[in-house]
């Protein structure tokens, strides 16, 4: 995984609560056996007026002009601003794959669903949780100033807007380290292989029925 770098990006506002992973990437696109290529189908049912199918060329599909990502001012957005319980529902990692493939590096929300939140960190996406007051204020700024952008500095855990005003966000250290260092988690766990083997041997003695099938 690539290391997460400080960046400045345009913010797209998606003012809706409980956005589920079926909305983020509808099920027909889950038939892919690859990790990439989901970007054109991100929010497919909201973004296009027709029914999307895997393998389709999306460049000629009729766009829903009312959908926020289809508006010119948000076309280059790399930060998604939204409400509570973002990413609820299915555990599909295709949701963060689609967001990342589209170009989103950071999602700012009042809260996230657990599995989705966890999946973001495996894919270089930084989910930031802010309280309702700050979220509403960001919505206001985003909607009133075309091109409104934020600088995301993970190391300092800060969001800086063009006026220089800074918002600090909370994040657990292990999650921050994982993104900043682009860690290979499997490699990290395998560095404890000997500890796992010892655990497993003792565990098998204690619960032998778990090792019969």
């Amino acid at each position: 995984m690539e290391k997460f770098q400080t960046f400045t990006g345009v913010v797209a506002p998606l003012n809706r609560a409980n956005i589920d992973t079926d909305a983020i990437i509808p099920k027909q696109f889950l038939k892919s056996i690859h990790r990439t290529g989901f970007g054109p189908n991100l929010f497919d049912e909201w973004r296009y007026l027709d029914h999307g199918e895997p393998g389709q060329d999306c460049s000629n599909r009729p766009l829903n002009q009312d959908f926020v990502l289809n508006q010119n001012r948000y076309k280059s957005a790399s930060i998604l601003l939204t409400r509570e319980n973002f990413g609820c529902g299915s555990s599909r990692e295709h949701a963060p794959w689609a967001l990342s493939d589209y170009g989103f590096k950071t999602i700012i929300a009042e809260s996230f669903a657990d599995i989705f939140y966890n999946n973001c960190f495996k894919n270089g996406i930084l989910p930031i949780t802010l309280d309702e007051e700050n979220i509403l204020s960001l919505f206001k700024k985003t909607e009133s100033k075309p091109g409104f952008a934020l600088m995301v500095n993970l190391d300092e855990q800060s969001l800086i807007d063009p006026s220089g005003s800074t918002l600090v966000f909370e994040l657990e250290k292990f999650r921050k380290d994982a993104l900043l260092n682009g860690l290979d988690e499997i490699g990290l766990t395998l560095s404890h292989a000997a500890v796992i083997r010892v655990f497993e041997t003792n565990y098998q003695k204690k619960y032998p029925w778990l090792f019969t099938t």
Binding site: K27, D114, K173
Partner: protein, 463 residues
């Protein structure tokens, strides 16, 4: 010092090491695998040239893309077929036990795990599927993971996890005649909301939970994720032990005795401290029907779509083609789906069959289908003659799979169609683009098929 919760105990028994940064390395006993969330994990294994840590800890089954009729013709959609073929190939090359599409024991991953005795009390169970919470009904720690974590478990038999907080939902009293586990969990979700359990492992306790069958307990734990919690748990008791006993892969003989002694300890201590406790009175619950595009948008069948001052529900109402104040019983339906990992077990089918026996589905219903959760469920139902009851009433009787719960196969709603469904999610587009889903119990779905609209199954509804 206060006692330990069931979740604390399960966490501790699987704790390999604490990493010193708030995370722990947790040992995983069983990984269930299906075709949708695993291909990229196997690719990762090949790319990094890693081998499986413990092959036999993994069990696979295709379920999401599987056709529910004319199965001998194979999978028509080439993309679905490739995904299922890829699972077969991956399982063959990594030598993972798989119940292939043609296997008589094939079925929905969360139905076959407990049914085969492949998921057992006390285990830590994962699957790249959020409804893995189902298996917590057996007193196991079970939760859904993403594909990166699927790969992590394949390679290391462990996961890096942060411990959840403990919540107890205590359901006392007695469910009224005709009220099911599905109504109970929908009621709970309506009460705490779809994010109410975020960050928690939820243990369900109290008399009304103890009185549930294993099927009912699985329905409750299955939809724990719809309340925001990754894991739902129910303490082991005699009902659990009776269920597990004699399953194909359950321990036998001396090992059974040993396991049983341990499993009996899988309960929260009397003095266990929970971070949050919610008390529910089972006597209060009526048949529940969702009316919106989130499972928390749910009311009693005798109720109406609620009013909200700030038009908060407008997007959901627009999508559902409904208005505030509409009585639930006035909602007309097009299709009926009885199935999914929530409600496709034998008890669910019996409840639905009892309702439809000797009756016919309404003329206005375009399609009513029953999709059993597994081959063995289907066989059992046929032995009991339930298939005939459904077929005579005008239902279609299908082959096992996820089917119209998420419409990855050919079973789906057309735009604007309205469905009474025993599945778990009423999200926009979930059962087909533009499709409108109302989540209900099997008995409620069955009665709705007969009438063409929702009725209260606990009343004399067919007069």
């Amino acid at each position: 010092m206060s006692g330990k919760t069931l979740f604390d105990k399960l966490w501790k028994s699987h704790l390999v090491r604490e990493n010193g940064d708030g995370t722990s390395l947790l040992y995983i006993d069983r990984q269930l695998i299906h075709e949708v969330t695993s291909p990229q994990a196997f690719d990762g294994m090949r790319l990094t040239n890693r081998s499986l840590w413990r092959t036999e800890a993994n069990v696979a089954v295709p379920d999401h893309n599987i056709p529910t009729k004319d199965r001998d013709k194979g999978i028509e959609d080439p993309i679905s077929k490739l995904q299922v073929d890829t699972l077969d190939k991956n399982c063959d090359s990594f030598q993972i036990k798989e119940f292939k599409m043609s296997d008589p024991n094939q079925g929905i991953v969360h139905v076959i795990g407990p049914e085969q005795g492949l998921t057992l009390p006390g285990m830590a169970i994962v699957c790249g599927d959020s409804h893995t919470s189902t298996h917590g009904a057996l007193g196991a720690l079970a939760f859904g993971i993403g594909t990166s974590e699927v790969e992590h478990v394949l390679a290391t038999q462990c996961l890096i996890q942060q411990k959840s907080k403990n919540m107890l939902i205590k359901v006392d009293g007695k469910l009224k005649q005709g009220i099911t586990a599905k109504d109970l969990i929908l009621f709970i979700i309506g009460k705490i909301g779809t994010a109410g359990g975020t960050g928690y492992a939820i243990e369900f306790g109290g008399n009304a939970i103890k009185a549930l069958s294993m099927e009912g307990r699985m329905t409750v734990c299955n939809m724990t994720i719809e309340a925001g919690a990754r894991a739902g748990l129910i303490a082991v008791d005699q009902t659990t032990l009776d269920y597990v006993n004699g399953k194909p892969f359950s321990p036998k003989g001396e090992l059974w005795e040993k396991a049983r002694e341990y499993w009996k300890t899988l309960q929260s201590d009397e003095d266990a401290a929970f971070d949050k406790t919610i008390e529910i009175n089972a006597n209060d619950i009526n048949p529940m029907v969702t009316w919106g595009t989130s499972p928390e948008l749910v009311v009693d069948v005798e109720g109406e779509i609620p009013f909200s001052a700030n038009r908060k529900f407008q997007p959901a109402l627009d999508y559902m083609g409904l208005e505030m104040g509409v009585p639930i019983k006035d909602i007309l339906l097009d299709k009926i789906f009885i199935g999914s990992c929530t409600n496709s077990r034998i008890e669910d089918l019996r409840e639905a069959a009892k309702v439809v026996e000797g009756k016919k589905i309404a003329d206005s219903i375009k399609l009513a289908m029953v999709v059993p959760g597994s081959g063995p469920v289907k066989d059992q139902a046929e032995k009991e003659g339930l298939d005939k009851i459904f077929l005579n009433a005008g239902f279609e009787w299908r082959e096992p799979g996820c089917s119209m719960c998420l419409a990855m196969n050919a079973d789906r709603l057309e735009s604007g169609e309205r469905c009474a469904s025993t599945s778990n999610r009423n999200f926009e587009g979930r059962q087909g683009q533009g499709g409108r889903t109302h989540l209900v119990s099997p008995a409620m779905a069955a009665a709705a098929a007969i009438k063409g609209y929702f009725v209260n199954v606990t009343t004399n509804w067919n007069n």
